[in-house]
Amino acid sequence: MDQVEKRRKKLKKKAIYARKIKRATHLLFYRRHKKPGVKGWELKKRLGSDYPKVLGILNSYLENLDLQVKTVFEEEPTVEKPTLEQLDRARFYIVLRGGITPKESKMMGWRIDDIAGLVTAISYIISKKGRAPREEIEKLLIVKLPGWRVDINMNRYIKSGYLAEDENKQLYLDWRTRAEIDQKLLVDLLLGIESSKTTS
């Protein structure tokens, strides 16, 4: 009798989590605000206080599809073991787990020039401790891009949320860079290429 009761309880719990995962998928995949992604407190409100567990299960489901749930701490540096309060303040996105091929990037509407300009701007800002004058970046881009494209591209990066500009024409890394780009790996790869080029 106890066995039956236990099984029933287990099935009930499973059904609850299945419902929560579906709800989390809807929340995370469909854009509901101006910016994509969902804040931790919103997930808590819709899924309950065990939302980190729900996201964990969803994440393991998404692994097979080469997707993952990404947590971005907006007001604080990335933390290894975040507290519930820190998670409530964080923003959650669904991002591609692996990299994409140049062919795929074309399908996404990005020309190779646009991507090269973006990586140049981002890595330059990283090297300048997260802030660099727009003029300096434009000078760097104009070496390889036609002048008329530089301004268009810079505005596109800002509009898409990769970069932000203040009233003093200083550029910063914005929310989309924090969500989509592995900055540490970018620096490592750039340095790796440098060392391999110098050694060869």
Partner: protein, 272 residues
Amino acid sequence: MPSKRQKKKLGTEHLQRVIDLCKSVEDKGLDPFVVDVNDIIRIVREYFPEWESPEELCLDAEAVHELASLIKLQSDWVKHRSTSLYTDPFLLEEKIRKMSKVELATLFLKVWHPIIELEQISPNSLIEAIKYWQNLIPLNERWLKTAPSEIETGTATREELLKQRILAEKSFSIELEAFWEELKQKTGNKGKIRYWDFVGADTYEETINRAYMTSFLITYGYATLEVHRLEEEMFIKPYQKPVSFLGKKQLISVPVSVSVDEWTKWKRGEKN
């Protein structure tokens, strides 16, 4: 051997130069390690015994303060360099110049994990939209409905306008002055009256009207409110002459509920 005055002059110049140097490093974002901190400390220490006047000591303090800011910049610089994100900007700039567009883009694709997001209409929202469309009246019909209907012109008497409250019986200022006189009369020698005893009337409509007029009496400086929070009592005190507090005192708003319940309580005598 320079005289004491000459040494002071030289020291002041040195300190001013130290301050300017530290400030320029901070403002222009230069490498803070270009400044030799030990050398600056030596200069500050060398001239310190010469300072006597408050101005000289202030200059010395300013130099020490700027030096402390510079040391903080050096500390931040070291911290940033020790992080995994540090790359030498000059090295990086050179490397970017050397790399081709294809190389740069290929490298970026390795670290780029774009956000997956959908902006799609669901079957439910389609059904809602169809329902809305079906109930939506064509524009030409809607415009017809909103067109103003023609009304024949006629004349209105003063009494009719008074009834519709388009015209007031007396001008507002005269009405307010009369109300003030009534308040002064009712307070008599006591100098104050309970709020509800003054505002309360036989009908609720009249009570609202009196509360409205009272609020103007207080706002325009004809009277003031005395609030006893613990006893939950409120009194109105008339001034003998209107007082203006504009620009002299911080004005505060006191919300007073004049609901039907409150009015009924007052009528029953529960408010006394």
